[in-house]
Symmetry: C2
């Protein structure tokens, strides 16, 4: 049994959408009292830290409807059911950036919002990018702009809150720790 | 107008809970087509990177119902309506760790899951911890275990996936970049 485990006594399904599901669990707490937990179910995601031969970081700008603004982020995407994260990572890299790679290294994984969601993000690294001859299609409701930035430019974008998400902030620290200047 | 802006034509409220809200927005895409966006509204959160005088990182272990397991994380908590993030940060530090501080530095902020949620996390740092004489109460449905770990121990916990969330992974890199050994 995990520390402070909360036993589910009832699960109420609230919403089953295109991307997320929402449920409310009635739970018994470690002290025997009861509470409710609001839980978002997500298929999981991947992101890729991709360095060009000029040591620039590949980024995509896209509109993030929950924030009502566009952000600059490392390439990322959701897992398809049954798809291995490495495969998703290469697919999203190809679709969003026009590069592929035959050399993808696993960096780490982490939960993005463990208080209310089960989303896990698998993070990869490559500095061996191969341009695709023919562009791939994005999802039909997806619009992104590609850019390649130095680490100094990325840090300026963090200060300007143009880069403002956890995975990209983590990625920039990761590159600094690898000695990228 | 922000790049690739998506105009809302209709908002459908699905759920209004204790912590999160869920809505589905009908949107017009940049190419004039339509789509739906599933959006989780969250009040925002704070987290504190807290170093003891022995250069140990203050951590709390707690059960994360969405993951059905317990994780070790830096102290964190949700914003109360109208509360300044610095105030939330000190309140959560006091409640979860039994320390307070009069010296809290803002590190950064980031969105945790910008694809489906508006949660923003404000991250602070302190290495000036003052033990409270009297323990403060946690929320009544909150159970946490306090621990203080070296950075090497924290990195072992990352490898064992006992530390497995974005903010804590970011925090450990942050301490490494500050030169903590």
């Amino acid at each position: 049994m995990d520390k402070f485990e909360e036993k589910t006594t009832k699960t109420t399904e609230i919403f089953d959408g295109k991307i997320i599901k929402l449920q409310v669990d009635d739970v018994t707490l470690p002290d025997g009292k009861t509470s409710k937990r609001e839980i978002v179910k997500h298929p999981g995601a991947v992101a890729v830290i991709a360095l060009t031969s000029e040591n620039k970081v590949v980024m995509v700008e896209q509109y993030r409807k929950p924030l009502e603004k566009s952000l600059v982020e490392i390439p990322a995407g959701k897992l398809e059911p049954g798809e291995k994260p490495e495969i998703t990572a290469i697919r999203e890299l190809e679709e969003e950036t026009g590069y592929t790679t035959n050399n993808l290294a696993f960096v780490t994984s982490f939960y993005t919002s463990p208080g209310f969601a089960d989303e896990i993000l698998y993070l990869y690294f490559t500095d061996n990018l191969i341009p695709l001859v023919e562009e791939k299609d994005l999802d039909e409701d997806e619009f992104v702009e590609l850019m390649e930035v130095t680490i100094e430019e990325a840090e300026t974008m963090i200060n300007e809150q143009k880069i403002h998400d956890a995975k990209t902030a983590y990625a920039i620290q990761y590159l600094r720790l690898r000695g990228l200047r």
